[in-house]
Symmetry: D2
Subunit: 337 residues, 4 copies
């Protein structure tokens, strides 16, 4: 039984607490820490299976009975808590992004040098049944050598401008999942990035210094091309698709819906909209990523998504950001240098 | 060049006139006959490529230059004109049904004994690209031995009660196409029929002594089962589908639409409705059936849909009619006896 | 917290044990009884969350701490255990069918007269997301008044002839789910039944006195028609579909697959096969039906699938059986009389 | 009746000859000119409905009975023949591209200043039922304001390296259709272009100085983004899709297939491949574009695709070419200046 401490009791912290309590085998939530812990939150967390709660995450790090921590706090604290947890000998599962700053991610990488602890980054979409099917088909050679990878990722509705301000911008907050998906599906690295975009959804996003709609083109080192298109709003719900095209054919995945029902009437032939947002769409992926983390601890295997994956996605995001600013393509070498 | 006379200048007569004029190779409309021929109709027909028009179909039968006739007159005249045309040495393409009365169909069959002329029945759906794909897959063994055949056939809107009165009833007017489809797709014969149905669309249809919604179950001689469901009205347009299920799998065909466009919006994910009705849906099939008829004449080959096909579909229709009346399944042997 | 005893530790008993242990809120497996209980089974059950095991189900009935029982034993014991459990004051969830014999089902109904306990029958498909979507659309008037209901239900592979012998025949074993679905979706009762069928999958099934392929047509009291087609084998997996057609349109549900992946290559455009069999397809429905049962106990509400539903589905099955034997349609009145 | 001369009797010249002969109302092929005209070609053309043939296109230009010409000769002759035809007072339908050189296109534009003749460019895809459906939905406001436009266009198999050498490169030969589609669907103009690409299909294409796989990103003047991905080879046939995304939703069009047949078997659930190549896919579009051209002549209306459209698509293509060479985005202003 792996005893897990969860640091951060916001939305995603609660999601993990519930999924560990209900669905993850051989794991238990030993404690949840949040500086704003109150009675209501405590009740909720206990009902979801948490044994204990605290306001101070260092209590978790000091608890010898705790094997691993899930870092679900705000992004600016990820790197520091990661380093502390590693030093305390805890296995770490850290929500994405590890940080907006490459240097701080490198401090985590450094802390991991000694070995001994697992460090997994929360790119949950790698554990989604649809994207896994694409990965499996590509790896099995079903489409031959990969030539073009296309990812479409649109949120149902834009977050508040307040959120946007601390989000790190669309590329580090939203597209980062798609950058990771490009690396995951292609088993390749990005060489250069060109980003275009604008504000079409909400002027307040523009005033906060960000964009809400983007198309990002990438050249991969192996010669394939990748293109991502994002929007912070889709009238029909959460749009999460991918197409991989190669010498022998194409594999595409569409959205999930809550049923296969199709109504034919005077208005047309209408299927259901995609599942509304990430909690509906990726709940099983959240369960699976933590289950996999737990299994890697138990069987002492390498984690499926490591610190290097966490780093690279941020580097691509920073390249996209610079590309948008300069209007020119950016090589990843120019970011890490 | 096969010279064709068209007998009957109603809707379907005009369809054939246009399709021969435009799309059928090696054929020309020598003459169109209709007792109600007027100036307007003549102009229309000439514009569609007809060389001549007349009020008297016997003029066509007497015309040595005419090789073949298309009988598009009212159903009650089909058998008699067929016999006359055969005796005049013309090849005959007769619209469905040949007649509502088995005895009259048998007079046509008898007239054909001498040989020498082709006689094709207008089951146009055999020439539809979707149903041809099903036939081809079954014949190629793609689904193994056929176990269950399901046909769904619904019109967009019910005809007038006046039409219903002379139509011969739903089974001889509408389902007859589906009965032929069962025989065509299964390459088998029907052994017994059980029909249920009612009036759900238009009370006037009930008052005219007919039903407008039906489910017909059939046992085929080879052991397979078939089921047809019909309705005189579908809010979403013309519904024409089939599913064939066998030991190795299933083949299904869906409706055609005017484009592949799918709109995703707040209302759902909406594709286009089926093509509205038979002229849109089966225009190419009309061209193809007559093209095939012309080719069979030119190359002296057997026609793809003969008098026996015309007869059997009517026999099944009469069995369905009796089943509905008696509430019991009916063996085809009991109809032809 | 509702304390549940499970009677019968076969496949479906284990399914319920696991789903209660993991997914059903406010319920716990107090005990599992099975006459063949051994150490291995005990270990499995305890790992799934069972507190206790026993060989004697009467121990469960005698246990004052147990609120409800799930009867998952062999069909021939359902009625008797049901009656005993009711008398012991336990709420009962009974797997389908309640019995093959109407009289024995009526003894259960009688035992329930006193009231006080809930009695739910395990028609799990009512709790499936797809069929629920159909029900919801019909009830919301989306297709107007219901005219034709079509259900297709095919297993991936036939069971052994030994199973067939005790199964009660295809109509009571397999089609019974579809009969219930007809009642559920239509909110109507069946008036008469006509069944055709044969042995196309496995001769041993025929030798065991059963058929493996069937088409069943029904007239409903409200005037709608229903048709079910079944087969004990489908090369492509578990096929579970429904179509409801009415005055305003149609609603159809297709199969679920494990992903939305579609591969386009030289062989065609290929999507995944349906989920293989009922455990994959209906796992969430199993969770949902028991969750609903638990909620009805807690909130003292009527159960969603009661003894009358259990009875009617068997009556329709017996009518289908007689229809197949006599070759004639059978009125349900003639079965219950 | 519009009398048409066809200049060039290659593949596309014959396609137009047949489509005019068979399907275009109120038009007749008066003459076909080709310097390599031989007896076999003459026979073919006459069978398709051509009244006359010649080796010298100037014979057509001199023929007072000819109202319009279709220029289907090699691209390097388009501009000059266009100018001659305009001076001879003929209406012109010119295959795409008008020329690879902006200056030569401008000579055509200049020749048209006087007015009096129609000049249509052969962007046939604007007349395709699927793309028309997208255009119609956008124009009707179905997706709100357009934010992102995505076009996927892949040929089934690469042409020979010999063809590649004279093709003008992938952007002027293949993508040019997609550039026009961007302008057509968006009703907007391209501001800047960024192109990436490589050789993944055939090394000989690289040796001929071209690429065979590309992704082109565009900013439109109105603020929308567009992205095209091309490949000279698709294992599953001709891939021609588009997606338009806006504030109210998305419209997408998929490929056409020869039937709606779907086979479910042990291999999966398999639909037909797309129609193989442009003659199958766009035959009706070829008929429609010329029909429209004829109608514009008859009714003296502006043509739907004019010289400006011909010019802009080439300018975008040249910008893409330069972007690929320089590795930087290119503004269209920098091309036309």
């Amino acid at each position: 039984m792996v005893r897990i401490g969860i640091i951060g009791a916001g939305r995603i912290g609660k999601v993990h607490c519930e999924s560990i309590g209900r669905y993850v085998k051989n794991a238990v939530v030993a404690c949840v820490a949040d500086p704003f812990m109150d009675e209501g939150t405590e009740q909720t967390l206990r009902a979801l299976g948490a044994e204990k709660v605290t306001k101070d995450y260092r209590e978790i790090l000091a608890d010898k009975s705790v094997d691993a921590v899930l870092i679900c706090s705000s992004t600016d604290t990820h790197a520091q808590i990661s380093v502390e947890a590693i030093k305390a000998g805890k296995h770490v599962f850290c929500e994405k992004p590890v940080d907006h700053d490459v240097k701080k991610i490198l401090t985590v990488k450094e802390a991991l040098q000694g070995g001994g602890v697992k460090y997994q980054v929360g790119f949950n979409r790698r554990f989604d049944h649809n994207f896994e099917a694409v990965k499996k088909a590509i790896d099995a050679g079903r489409i031959g050598h990969l030539d073009v990878l296309k990812i479409c990722s649109r949120d149902p509705a834009a977050p508040s401008a307040d959120y946007i301000k601390v989000s790190g911008g669309i590329f580090l907050d939203m597209t980062i999942h798609d950058f990771d998906m490009v690396r995951y599906l292609s088993s390749d690295e990005v060489e250069s990035v060109y980003a275009v975009g604008g504000v079409t959804v909400d002027k307040a996003i523009g005033e906060a210094g960000d964009i809400d709609t983007a198309v990002v083109t990438m050249k991969l080192k192996g010669g394939a091309l990748a293109v991502i298109d994002n929007c912070r709003r889709a009238a029909y719900g959460y749009d999460q698709r991918a197409e991989a095209f190669g010498s022998l054919g194409q594999i595409a995945v569409a959205n999930d819906a809550s049923s296969t029902a199709v109504i034919s009437d005077a208005n047309g032939v209408t299927a259901e909209k995609p599942l509304y947002f990430f909690l509906e769409r990726y709940m099983q992926a959240y369960v699976k990523e933590v289950s996999e983390f737990v299994r890697c601890i138990e069987e002492d295997r390498p984690v499926p998504v490591g610190i290097e994956d966490g780093l690279q996605a941020v580097v691509i995001g920073l390249a996209a950001k610079r590309s948008l600013q300069t209007g020119a393509p950016v090589r990843l070498d120019d970011i890490v240098r």
